[in-house]
Amino acid sequence: MIRNIKLYFSFLVASLKRMMEYRVDCIVGMVSQIAFQIIELVFIWIIFQTTDNIADWSFEHLLLLYGVMMLSISVTDLLFDSTYDIGKRLIRKGKFDTILLRPVHPLISVLGESETSTALGYMILSVILIVSMLIKLQVSVTLFLILKILYFGILGGFIIGGIQTIFSITGFWTYKSNEVVWSVFQLHKLAEYPIEIYNKFIRILITIILPFAFASYYPTLDYLGLNESNLIFIVPLIVIVIWIIAINVWNWALKKYRSTGS
């Protein structure tokens, strides 16, 4: 286990080095990610021209929630970005065979190939949003709060990354860039807004079935001191459960893949 984690980081460092080779693409990716998010922020800003709250969340609250989600996404992007196109990048070209021949679990190799230029964009934006909104909302920014934000940001990244990894196995059969993963990932948008606005079905979807809300909504409640249900404490548990499922699903897919070949 320790050995695997160490190797994962060695691979990741290699990926980051590789990313540095394409500095211009990196900056473009970063800037464009920020731009995309700003379009979304313009939307929020426009709706607040007509109202002063959404389900009792003010403009500042909403931006804070948005920033918290961005932080989780940036972690996902940085650490687990490489699963969505395994079909096209690895399986179809047979490159996956070389990964299977390594003395490491293939999931470690695949996840270690994560290289994303958008992560930095998300991160910058999330830091700006979180810090400025906390100040505006007059929440006292203590060291403890900062550590908490980092802690839940990383765990949130693991939640979303785990969900992506589970669905990434479809790449073993589609041989293409995996729109399934992308679609599932898109569901995180639902958790960029307070879950009070949704009906029961969507609430269950983003808290129990695909617990995106634990990467944004519940931590935000906690930072705002509104955490009445203490649901925040099950976040580490959720991470563990999701990753156990992810690893098992992957092992199952590997077994299938090896009995049919490519």
């Binding site: 070389t98 021949l101 390594r102």
Partner: protein, 333 residues
């Protein structure tokens, strides 16, 4: 005990039969039809430690499927593979530590990184002790002439440079068994020779078992002692390389340098199992079955027509023999 033991190995594929168009697609969705294809049909062999085995056969004969099962990439439909006491398919990662593999053009190196960094990652992956790593690196650098390549990015290397690095990467962790699938494809002669020499050296020094599949039979002639020939999923020959030639290589080529030739020998002779391949005023090339004729027979025959200045005798090479086997000219008995 043999290092590789293969018993009654079978691999069947299901191939889905799809009709064209949307209607066919929908039909397939509800009522899938499959055709069974037997890629490897009940093969058995065992390989001793330190052997250099050439695994040959035409495209689609089942070579890659076998290699994939030996490496644990593919689960056999039935039968057993044991490599150094490990069933590759069941203990894949453990098996991976003791083997090395080159799979054609698929690189195990990191494309955008300098070669040396890929080596460092491999060192970490295989947990190669420092001392061994340094020693191997130094040695491989010398034999494969990698000195100037180590700091270059893999993507900037030529095909030959890349393969040299690839080979080095494969042997860094002192694997017990190495599978080389088409390691010389597309390379120029000097690089090919370099790689062949490397394989032979390492084999001699460490008793590394090597299984080589290739289209270039010169690789096999120069590197391997043993040949396993597979055709349509079954092994049709397994044994010594020289013996293989004796059994299947029924022809000898003989070339005469002559003068004062005044007749066309092609027209004069009409023997079976005797063929004039090339003829000019100064030169005659003949291919004959050495079961039927001796070299002396041919020399006598030719001396009837002209004065012989020089003779070259050439045994049939692997390549020609295989061509004849594939064409069905040699019937197995």
């Amino acid at each position: 005990m043999a290092i590789i033991e293969v018993k009654n190995l079978v691999k069947k594929y299901k191939i889905s039969e799809k009709e064209h168009g949307i209607i066919g697609y929908i039909k397939h969705l509800f009522h899938p039809k499959y055709k069974e294809h037997i890629a490897v049909n009940n093969i058995s062999f065992s390989i001793e430690e330190g052997e250099l085995v050439g695994y040959i056969g035409e495209n689609g004969a089942g070579k890659s499927t076998t290699i994939k099962m030996l490496t644990g990439l593919l689960t056999p439909t039935s039968g057993n593979v044991v490599v150094n006491g490990i069933i590759p398919n069941e203990e894949r990662i453990k098996n991976n530590k003791q083997i090395g593999a080159v799979l054609g053009q698929k690189t195990q190196l990191w494309w955008d990184l300098p070669v040396i960094e890929s080596f460092e990652l491999i060192k970490k992956m295989y947990e190669i002790p420092n001392e061994q790593y340094e020693k191997n690196l130094k040695k491989f650098t010398e034999i494969l002439d990698l000195e100037d390549l180590l700091d270059k990015q893999v993507k900037n290397l030529s095909l030959g440079q890349k393969m040299r690095c690839e080979i080095a990467a494969t042997f860094l962790h002192n694997p017990k068994v190495v599978y080389l699938d088409e390691p010389t494809i597309g390379l120029d002669i000097l690089v090919k020779e370099n790689i062949r020499k490397f394989i032979k050296d390492i084999n001699k020094e460490r008793k590394t078992t090597v299984i080589l599949t290739t289209h270039d039979l010169k690789d096999i002639e120069e590197v391997c002692d043993r040949i396993i020939l597979i055709d349509k999923g079954t092994i049709i020959y397994d044994g010594d390389k020289e013996n293989f030639k004796n059994i299947y290589g029924k022809h000898t080529m003989i070339e005469f340098i002559v003068k004062n030739k005044n007749v066309n020998i092609t027209l004069e002779t009409s023997e079976e199992e005797f063929e004039v391949i090339d003829e000019s005023d100064k030169n005659i090339k003949i291919k004959f079955n050495h079961d039927k004729f001796t070299v002396m027979d041919i020399v006598k025959l030719i001396s009837n027509y002209c004065e012989i200045l020089d003779i070259h005798i050439q045994e049939e090479g692997l390549e020609e023999i295989l061509k004849e086997i594939y064409r069905g000219e040699i019937i197995d008995d």
